[in-house]
Symmetry: none
Subunit: 428 residues, 2 copies
């Protein structure tokens, strides 16, 4: 249940319900209804009563802020028929949070420490509002802030474990465990086609609601995910099923689509690349034009990046490409320029490996080159200098993001391949 | 009301509810509740009865396809207590649609011509499924396909006119228009505190459901939004109310919190900064350490950035700060280093204005400086060289993102202020 007039007015999208749906499903919890309601006490109460009548647990997102139109706490207390009680320990945590930013807590924020009598709080770790776990007979209402990163953290840390405990008490727990193979460079339909045989085989093997299922998730731009979900009597049994199926799926993909799996679960492309660089003891420098710092900013998001990432040059203006990176005068939206940028990055930044990227994000063509045309250049010990052309569909932002991941993937695959070849030569 | 198990599983986002909310609000129709439900007849019926009990009109999206799990038609007929009747004229339109693609209509698609007795159809113009207008006493249920462009076309062509007609009959027609003031550098509670007087005044002035309301939206990291919503008899009248209230709110904010409003509606911080740079005819170069390209990548997202953005240096490794940017040897997590980076960016990238940022994203301290400590340096004609220290709470990613926006805002405010001073000096 999402709370906030801005949702009803369409001013923001309700991404929380989608996120919760996905994560509840992965955890084996059936969700039957979503609701959104505005900042109106009577209607929140009505919606909450409806939700409780239709399910055993309700997750409410939003309406826990400090202002007068944040009334989720009041609505829950009304449905529970209990008063709100100010939790002084929570007040002190909020005060400490403000103090750490060198500020006094505004009086309004004390409202965030009001707790329906009989409810537990979920300690706030990212924002000022704590979450709530509110028992109603054998049912339960969870309340979390509407800010996605606060909600997601509380769901994972407190709500999901509480739900699992309740399911176990009711004897509903089967172990449901998921694993996600992250792929890049292929389409959902191509994956579905080559894995249809596995899906059919799994359907035949597991008629009784146990066993493994495969699903595809095209969640945004970060590649297609192949989700393996195992249902068994214990977590160990489920993990063994997943191990076996992961081997099968990897073998099918490697023999048909090549090296499309770059990692598991929450691994990002930059983490996958970082692992390869670390293993080979190489440092990296990047030179970016159309991606404008997107590649560098992804790389520094990896914890420990300072051991292998030297830095980057965002050469948005052509003059910067020539003056700073030493790209020869002439056209700069060319494969040769991408390679020269990679060499320049290697030299200027003192890195072992250089990655260069140039191209046209649009909306207009540049140097006669159409939007969506992107050139990636690499310069690396062992692999030498090479370049690739990408044709990327979509708008300006999509072209930039897709190009950034593609460039990281190209570097990852190239380094892996040159390591294999070096290994083969050394042992051959 | 959105129908489809894929919504509950989080496999697709419910963009229709947001679109409808936005367009209903713009048309002056209050929407009070959103629901999503899976492809389960019993639960669709329950949700539809709930929706009808809570409102006078219900729009259902989805479940009108040709397959056996598309059961919106059946559920509506059950709630209406009427049978489904096949509409032969609709069958012929579906057949003609397939014929125009050189194909025969699959038998399943005839189901899409089933209409609850007493309902009207909305002719399909983009897909195979017609929409439905289903009267239930003085209330009404509209059903449209879940495919966004089919839904949007039917809403505009048939549903909105029908709703307007019903509202006119009940004398309820009004225009609702919103405007959002984007702020940075203050908290939701501080805004609420200084604007409480306006909120109280507005409450007194508009007891009859007309007039202006204020609300605060804390949507993620991009600052707090102050939303002004006006309800009036016409769009022109509503806009005039908004203009007047925007002046009041801006005056209150300027006199209490300073220059916290950076733009309106969908304007981003980088667009606000771009407008200042463009107006003053200045080019910009950036030097980033902990933000690692995040600032540069935000800047190039602005269409037309090539006219004022020269590029950036991501000096993640200290050696790059010294060698490329000319930061003096010694500690690099200092205000002096941030200023030297700004000067270096200006010189190396050939830019009028230089922005430098260094600090500690964590998790560990660096050079004895605690995580969340960030130094921003500026070097600009007119403003000279200056620096600021930020203390940013949160994890690594949040520290980086918050620092990036803060640095952009600092530059924006500094350029605005130096322009004012120059203007004052010139006219003084």
């Amino acid at each position: 249940m999402a709370v906030g007039t801005e949702l009803l007015l369409g001013q923001i999208a309700d991404t929380n319900s989608r996120w919760l749906g996905e994560h509840l499903a992965a955890a084996g919890v059936s969700s039957y209804f979503h609701q959104a309601v505005g900042d109106n006490r009577e209607r929140i109460v009505t919606a909450l009563r409806t939700a409780l009548a239709r399910g055993e647990a309700v997750i409410m997102c939003g309406g826990l802020g400090p202002t007068q139109d944040d009334i989720t706490r009041e609505a829950i207390a009304e449905v529970m028929h209990v008063p709100l009680v100010r939790d002084e320990a929570v007040v002190r945590r909020i005060e400490a949070l403000f103090a750490s930013r060198g500020r006094d807590m505004p009086a309004n924020n004390a409202r965030q420490a009001d707790v329906p009598q009989g409810a537990q709080t979920i300690e706030q770790q990212r924002g000022t509002a704590p979450g709530l776990i509110c028992p109603l007979g054998h049912k339960v209402v969870y309340a979390v802030p509407g800010v996605p990163h606060e909600m997601e953290e509380m769901f994972t840390r407190a709500i999901l474990p509480d739900l699992r405990r309740r399911m176990a008490e009711q004897g509903e727990e089967a172990a449901i465990v998921s694993r996600v193979l992250r792929t890049w460079g292929t389409s959902e339909s191509a994956l579905a086609e080559v894995l249809q045989g596995r899906i059919d085989a799994l359907d035949e093997q597991s008629p009784a609601g146990t066993g493994v299922t495969l699903a595809f998730l095209a969640s945004g731009i970060e590649g297609i995910k192949v989700r393996l979900t195992a249902r068994a009597r214990s977590a160990g049994e489920a993990a063994a099923l997943l191990d076996a199926e992961e081997r099968e799926v990897r073998a099918v993909l490697a023999s048909t689509l090549g090296d499309v799996v770059f990692g598991l679960d929450e691994v990002t492309m930059e983490q996958a690349l970082a692992a390869v660089l670390l293993e080979r003891g190489l440092t990296l420098g990047v030179a970016e034009s159309l991606t404008g710092g997107l590649i560098a900013s992804r790389l520094v998001a990896v914890v420990g990046a300072s051991t292998w990432f030297r830095g980057g040059v965002v050469a948005y203006d052509s003059a910067v490409k020539h003056a700073v990176l030493g790209v020869p005068e002439g056209p700069v939206v060319r494969e040769e320029a991408a390679v020269a940028m990679a060499q320049g990055a290697r030299r200027v930044l003192g890195a072992d490996v250089g990655l260069g990227i140039t191209g046209v994000a649009g909306p207009d063509p540049q140097e006669g080159v159409a939007p969506g045309t992107v050139y990636v250049g690499l310069s690396a010990p062992g692999a030498g200098d090479l370049s690739r052309v990408l044709r990327v569909p979509g708008d300006r932002q999509r072209i930039r993001e897709y190009s950034a991941i593609s460039a990281l993937d190209l570097l990852r695959r190239t380094l892996l391949r040159s390591a294999e070849e070096t290994g083969a030569a050394a042992t051959g």
